[in-house]
């Protein structure tokens, strides 16, 4: 019986010929990622070593990545103290892949990992962040875990007792029509599967429309796979994966590119024709409350947010800058742009996009999570409405349970910034 992509990856990782859905495995970890919540991981890590007579030491200081992104620069003394504690730990343990609050190496974890070539096809990658699913876009088995689980990974070098997940195959053929992007596809899919429809499963993406997507778009799909409850999303690697890793991430060593078996067994197959997709909007307060844009058009927006680990990449900022160039953000609406990393920020600056955005009235903020999770900048007022390219619209997500968040693609965000109401990019241009 054939194996899915992730089953094949797991068999390789464990050095066995076959694995089946439901098998319980201990997996060696290739990369263990944390952000500011490393403060809790450190605490739990020290707990594991308590009374063992052994010095707390991480299993491999080169396989741990720590990225400050959730609250940068620190918004409070409490955060700054947590960050200091992590910095001291990083120095004491000799952790090499540390991305501090810096203009040369900083950014959001789910952008820093791909752009620095830390993720490879075939990797087992765990992160103390639910959107760790993002890295399946490069052919890794990548999933989110909690802080105590990460502490055990730091101590033992493996992730214990993982059940081999079943897989939903999503086949997307056809061409994306003008104004429709990877974000619209994944919003549509989350609406279709529902917020729990892929719980404990992998979403494996196939089809012409996926093959023709650049890595930036594939990252969007895998990033939001978790919004359907999936353990991970994955795009089996191909020439585009190789191109991205070589040309954009500077990876020089051998890549292990493999495909799922043709006779792989899937729990479910979902087919989507991209040609018929429209711009999609996820309405408050769940990500699966997805509607075609026509249903919510005209809705007044107080704050537009472009950025996050979902849509804060260079092509996203380019499309927003192009839409706003020479025009102005509508009066009564404010627009915040958060590039996903300082490398992207610098590229956007050099390409003139940052200038376009500022002249149009947008506020370009420093790379980081910003308002995405409502703890740092850009909080919403009571009864305010935001339209964001981020990935979650849960009640309270942008810092105020009395506000509403709608989710969309970058071009919808930019078009709506010009009008101050949710607007369809296919009608405006």
């Amino acid at each position: 019986m054939g194996m899915t992509y992730v089953q094949k990856l797991l068999a390789r990782a464990c050095g066995t010929a076959v694995v089946e859905t439901g098998d319980v495995l201990e997996l060696p970890v290739d990369l263990a990622m944390s952000h500011e919540n490393a403060a809790l991981v450190i605490n739990q890590f020290n707990e594991i070593f308590r009374d063992t007579g052994r010095e707390p030491r991480v299993w491999d200081a080169d396989k741990i990545a720590i990225i400050f992104d959730h609250r940068v620069p620190a918004e409070s003394s409490k955060t700054a103290t947590n960050q200091k504690k992590i910095r001291d730990f990083v120095a004491a343990q000799g952790i090499t892949r540390f991305h501090d609050i810096r203009g040369d190496v900083g950014g959001i974890c789910h952008q820093i990992l791909p752009e620095n070539g830390y993720v490879r096809p075939g990797h087992v990658l765990v992160g103390t962040d639910s959107h760790t699913t993002t890295h399946g876009a490069l052919g890794a088995f990548a999933f989110g875990i909690g802080a105590t689980e990460m502490a055990a990974v730091w101590a033992l070098g493996s992730i214990l007792n993982v059940e081999v997940p079943g897989t939903i195959k999503v086949v997307v053929n056809g061409e994306f029509p003008p104004g429709v992007y990877a974000k619209d596809l994944i919003l549509h899919l989350v609406g279709l599967l529902t917020a729990e429809g892929a719980n404990f499963k992998i979403i494996e993406f196939h089809g012409d429309a996926i093959r023709s997507l650049p890595t930036s778009g594939r990252l969007v799909l895998c990033n939001m796979s978790v919004e359907a409850g999936a353990t991970g999303g994955v795009v089996p690697p191909d020439e585009e994966t190789r191109r991205y890793l070589r040309d954009e991430a500077g990876v020089v060593d051998e890549l292990e590119i493999f495909a799922p078996d043709v006779d792989a067994v899937y729990d479910r197959v979902v087919e989507i024709d991209a040609t018929h997709l429209e711009p999609q909007i996820a309405c408050p307060h769940t990500v699966d409350n997805v509607k075609p844009i026509g249903d919510v058009k005209g809705r007044k927006i107080d704050q537009i947010v472009v950025g996050s680990c979902t849509n804060g990449r260079l092509d996203d900022i380019e499309i927003v800058a192009r839409t706003l160039r020479g025009k102005h953000v509508a009066k009564g609406t404010r627009m915040l742009v958060f590039p996903a990393s300082w490398r992207i920020y610098t590229d956007a600056l050099n390409a003139g996009y940052v200038g376009d955005l500022i002249e149009a009235g947008a506020v370009v903020c420093n790379p980081g999570c910003g308002p995405c999770l409502g703890i740092h900048q850009g909080a919403l007022g009571d009864n305010e409405t935001a339209l964001a390219t981020t990935n979650r619209n849960f009640k309270g997500r942008m810092g105020n349970p009395g506000a509403e968040v709608f989710l969309c693609s970058p071009v919808v965000a930019a078009t709506s910034a010009l009008t101050g109401v949710i607007s369809d990019p296919r009608e405006v241009n």
Partner: protein
């Protein structure tokens, strides 16, 4: 086994943002997180902090409890009051975090209960003593049984660390 009242009844898709709002994420220690449990539900949060609910009281939810962010505070803040969570099903990361930190949770696909009902857990069933109905419990993932038996991931990992070093 456990017997107690339902002190909170919730719908589908309760996210970890609702259980433990993001703005309190700089507070990480399990000893400190309980004060912010369900912070945006001010009435319930106050009742928790005033210790109105004895250990072993129940939170009853529907589908997909604990979806969203991986923040472990969402499990540790409930564990701090020794409440038991009964839901039709749980989101993966929350389920594993709860097992790892020793929060008691029960998967009960058909559970029907209202706030104030008295529940008792026995013979692999949740019995609603108020309505007289009982509902079968689904076992927790078998992959995690060893961690549950060890009383959580910290003691389990500590044991492995020592065994492997030997």
């Amino acid at each position: 086994m456990a017997k107690g009242k339902v002190v909170l009844k919730l719908d589908d898709d309760i996210s970890t943002d609702i259980i433990y709002p993001g703005r309190f994420m700089a507070t990480v220690l399990p000893t400190e997180t309980p004060q912010f449990a369900f912070a945006d539900n001010t009435e319930f949060n106050e009742a928790l902090r005033e210790k109105q609910f004895p250990a072993g009281s129940f939170i009853v939810a529907a589908d997909n409890f604990g979806c969203g962010s991986s923040r472990e505070q969402a499990a540790s803040c409930i564990k701090g009051y020794d409440l038991i969570v009964v839901a039709r099903n749980f989101a993966r990361i929350f389920l594993q975090n709860s097992i790892n930190v020793g929060l008691q949770m029960i998967i009960c696909p058909d559970i029907e209960a209202d706030e104030g009902d008295e529940l008792e857990v026995r013979d692999n069933k949740v019995c609603n003593l108020t309505s007289g109905k009982s509902f079968a419990i689904e076992p927790l993932p078998k992959a995690r049984q060893a961690i549950i038996d060890a009383g959580g991931l910290i003691p389990y990992a500590r044991r492995l660390l020592l065994e492997r070093a030997a």
